[in-house]
Structures are given as structure tokens and as C-alpha cells.
Symmetry: C2
Subunit: 210 residues, 2 copies
Amino acid sequence: MSSEPGISPRGTLFVVSAPSGTGKTTLCKRIVDIFPNLRQSVSFTTRAMRPGERDGVDYFFVSPQTFADMVAAKAFAEWAEVHGNRYGTAIKTLEDWRNAGCDVLLDIDIQGAAQLRKTYDQGVFVFILPPDLVELRRRLEGRGTDAPEVIERRIANARREIPECVHYDYLIVNDDFEQALNRLTSIITAEGCRTARMLPTLAKTFDLFR
Amino acid sequence: MSSEPGISPRGTLFVVSAPSGTGKTTLCKRIVDIFPNLRQSVSFTTRAMRPGERDGVDYFFVSPQTFADMVAAKAFAEWAEVHGNRYGTAIKTLEDWRNAGCDVLLDIDIQGAAQLRKTYDQGVFVFILPPDLVELRRRLEGRGTDAPEVIERRIANARREIPECVHYDYLIVNDDFEQALNRLTSIITAEGCRTARMLPTLAKTFDLFR
């Protein structure tokens, strides 16, 4: 622990996972507006840019060759191939923000989170759950965007993914959106009060390690 | 982890300590109004009841002999003698609330917290700090209740006690009261979302340990 003047504590990595249809994306969008110091991580992808997407905002769009070079250079904290496209989180993306004292929010699937847990065990892992599978089905059907067989696949995935929640630090049941948002807000605020996080600043104020 | 019907998770013990003049008592009073499920622990004491105090509300008032019998019976989670009077927290007080599923708030001095940490290491330990010692002195003087030598003693105590904060889980700097209250609220909400705390309920909903 340093008490050097100007040394600021490094940011915390918050990893958020959830089965499809649980409201994770909306929660993550809202939470970055609440904490000015919290930055949502931008992933690299090999898939084509869609209309309305911006490079460096929605994703960093790169060629398959660039992505393969980054994999070879161990530049990714986690990466995966989904439907023939590759997606990955660069270590540099996370570290640059953290070194600047910003917290980083990573909205990521359960497999990606499992990879991250090996290298970022000091990260804070949050799993969002539906109230139950009956309600999850009701919500997926209510969106009116998925064919019945897609809904069945999402339910089957959720059933397989939910037991993985035991490996996360915090569980949030998204029964009521505002309450779930309040819980996520509380977790981020509370983690900012952790002793290890507070000590670099306080050590100087109170001359703790004299 | 049990998934038996009717099994509810046990309550969490929150231990709050702070140097004198930091606003701990006011924070604790406000926080129990925010969480209906959070009960402030009532201590046993041998000191005489003061006007306006109620037995079982402010303290459990007992004779020195009863207190000594309880010490001998190892009935206390922590106890101390202050200015010739004894004060102690009964294990039964904490366990009865926790077994009823209530969280328990314990507003306790640093020595008492150190005793508790040995037996309740699953408790959540929160330390409240003043912004700095200059501001602490300003606040103590502003109260207008303490003689100069009492203020000096409180400042000297704070200087001695603050380094103990490194043994706590969370640190809250009470620079702004509402912000400090929000941080304490967040810690209690976040701890309620901890995976170990949530699993007893969720295991049943999602049949997690089949």
C-alpha cells in the first residue's frame, strides 16, 4: 500500500452475467449513467459493423487476422467464437481504465466470465437472475421478437447457465427493475467502500503506516 | 446449503465502530429505520438506569452479580468494563435475531469489535471515519458539550483508534452525512445480495443442487 502523494487507487472490475431475457443489458446501460467513474468495456469483434454501430463505441471492429494476432499475443482477458464470429475483451482496455482510476463494467456471458475469473480474481462478479423460469418464459414471449423454438433454446440455456451463479460474488434477482438497479448500484457503492480500496487515500490523511 | 422448504437464511451481523464525534450513533439510528429487517442489538449493563431510559430498549439493566454469572457462563460475545461499569453483548441477543432471519446492527467500540471478530468472523465490520482530525476537532468543539481537556482526550483516542480501521471490511468517511448514510445503506443492501446469503432461497426456485 503506497502513501505517495498523487497515487490514486486503481479501478475495480465489475463483471455482470445473466441468462438471456433477464434485463442485464438495460441494467448495465442505466448503471453507467449513475456512476460517472464507471466505464463500460468495449469488446473487439470480427463481425461486420451493423447500421448505426460505431467503431470504438459499440465494438472495436477488427479483421480476423488482427484478432488472431491479438490472440497469439495473449492480448485478450477472454475471448470466444459465436456463430463464426470472434468476440474478445482486451487486457489493455481493462487496464487503461483501471490505471486511470476508473471502475470498469463488463457485460459478458457466463463462459467469458469463467475465463476472467482465472486472471481477475480481484474482480467483482455479479449474476442477474429472473424471478423464476416461468416468469423468464413470460418475458421472452412478451418481447414478441423470438420464434417459439428460439424461446425454448433460451429457456434451456438459462436452465443450464443459472447453476453457474454459485461462482459469482453477488446475485441479483430482477423481479422489479428499479429494485434490481438499486441492488446493482448498492454493490458498486459498497465495493468502493472496501478497506483495501479506501486505504491508499486514507493512509495519507491519517498517516496510517508510519 | 439446505433447500428444505421453510428454511430461511440466517441474518447477518453488522458491526459498526468509530472514534467519538464521527456521527456513528446518528447513522445507526437512521439506518434501522431504513431496513425493517435490521435490528439494533441491545447490550447488557451494570450501570444504573438514567431518567428516560427503558430496560430492554436502551439496555438490559442487570446487577453486577447477574453480569458476573453471565461472564462465567460465557454468555457474552464481547464485554468490557468502562469507568467501573460493565457492558456486554449477549450471544443469545445476536443469535435469536439472526435465527429469526433478521440482520443485527451492533454499534460498538473498537475493543468490543476486536473481540467479536474472533467469534463472528462471518460478520460485516464497518468503520466510520471523520474526513480528517482537523475536522473532527472542529465538530467536537462545535457540539459545545465537552471541556477542552475532554476534546483533547477524544482527539488522542481517535488518533490511536483510526489505525485499527485496517481490520474492518468497509470504511466510510463521514464527510457528508447523507452520503455516509447512503454508503452504509449500500453496504447493507449489497451484503444481502451476497451469493452465500441468496443461495438458500434460490436453490429451491431453480433446483440448484439437484
